[in-house]
Amino acid sequence: MSIVIRRYIPWILAVILTFFMALDTLVLEKNINAYAEAIRKAQAIIGTHAVIISITLFTRIHGRRVIKDPKRIESWILLICLWIPLIWGLGRYAFYGVKPTVEPSIQQVFSAIVSPGDSTIYSILVFFIASAAYRAFRARSMEAAILLIAGSICMLGNAPVGELIWSGFVPLKDWINNVWVRAEARVIIISGLLATLALYVRILLGYERGWMGRGE
């Protein structure tokens, strides 16, 4: 019995929902479409609860670190930056009805820490892309040479300085972008779908059980 509750019911639930939602995208029927829309919203609500586990465990890991070694400033900082805005934001939301998107102090935390963090880490990519290009764009083999040539042409065609060096870079860049990059992207998309179909069949038939853990 226990394996039924542990494994079979969740699995059957997933199968039924998959087919129902697939039906919704294919079929025009007022009730089905309305139910599907409601189910999708319910899923968003249910899925949000997972964050409880994550935040609890996150706090536990760093709490233990702090207890073991109270001099670990970074874990202290993490706990402070996590819990103070969270409690304040929730409290303001619950008791005063102020949405976190407009609550000024939450917005200040956002623009003091989160927003600069986002844009800094995004922009740190410029250094990494430079060093990746330096290491990878080396004509070691035929493939590497193709990578090197296509990459360098596109780089030079994109920057104004490339046009100053040789005016041919721009049409060549457009050609690579619109012929080769397009063909590549299309194949990656199609092949991703084919594999996804096969994976879903494996899940629906119960061969692929990674998503349920292994358990017993």
Binding site: I45, P85, P116, G117, L147, A183, M212
Partner: protein
């Protein structure tokens, strides 16, 4: 000199920016502090936003008298049983719901956008594309590229003789595309860094912090160098 809130926000922002960038030299204490502050604040902010979204959905239904929507909360709370030793498997119910809905929504929609539409686009572009070579050639190149590269992924066949050549052409198509899109991305990344640099150099009190950071960097490089030469 009065210190207002904007200055404090800008000061923190500039500090976080430089501390995170210090990773470029090496993993260090300042980076670790900024990293943890950022991780914590980001988790708090994102969680608040997702709670807000979820509550908006829920309230929308509940306020219309659909009381059964409250049931989504206990179903979601099944996740908490993960902490118990005996009933931990109950987390699989919300997981199954989230997954089943995700899969179902994607699968049939993607068959259209990622399969049929892509095939149609390939057919359409076979004659309409013209960039460098004379009229039909560019389109033919796209078609050949798509067909061979798709063939390259074939799993249950060993490539021999002419098949190997086809697969190789497919592989080269993919690589050319990868190279191209690598090169094209550089510009967007530099743009992002320009934004950051401009913030640091031109927003009060960014420049002062930059100077402090530069001094600290030089000091740390000197120290490391002395340690190494010893």
């Amino acid at each position: 000199m009065s210190v207002d809130l904007t200055t404090i926000v800008n000061l923190t922002a500039a500090g976080i920016t430089l501390m995170l960038l210090s990773y470029l030299y090496k993993e260090n204490r300042f980076f670790r502090i900024a990293e943890h502050a950022y991780m914590g604040a980001a988790a708090a902010y994102t969680t608040l936003i997702s709670i807000d979204t979820a509550w908006t959905y829920l309230y929308d239904y509940v306020s219309k008298g659909h009381w059964w929507w409250w049931l989504t909360i206990p179903i979601g709370l099944l996740y908490i049983f993960f902490f118990t030793r005996k009933y931990f498997y109950l987390y699989r119910y919300p997981t199954a719901i989230v997954m089943g809905i995700g899969m179902g929504t994607i699968v049939s929609r993607y068959i259209k956008t990622q399969f049929l539409e892509q095939i149609r686009a390939t057919i359409y572009e076979s004659t309409t594309t013209q960039y460098l070579l004379p009229k039909p050639l560019d389109g033919i190149l796209i078609s050949i590229g798509v067909l061979t590269a798709l063939f390259y992924f074939y799993f249950t066949m060993e490539f021999k003789g002419p098949l190997n050549t086809i697969a190789k052409i497919g592989r080269y198509t993919l690589i050319a595309g990868f190279g191209g899109s690598f090169g094209l991305t550089v510009m967007a990344r530099i743009s992002l860094f320009i934004g950051r640099v401009r913030f640091l150099y031109f927003t009060h009190p960014g420049p002062y912090i930059c100077v402090v950071a530069a001094i600290m960097l030089i000091a740390s490089i000197t120290l490391d160098y002395m340690k190494k030469s010893k």
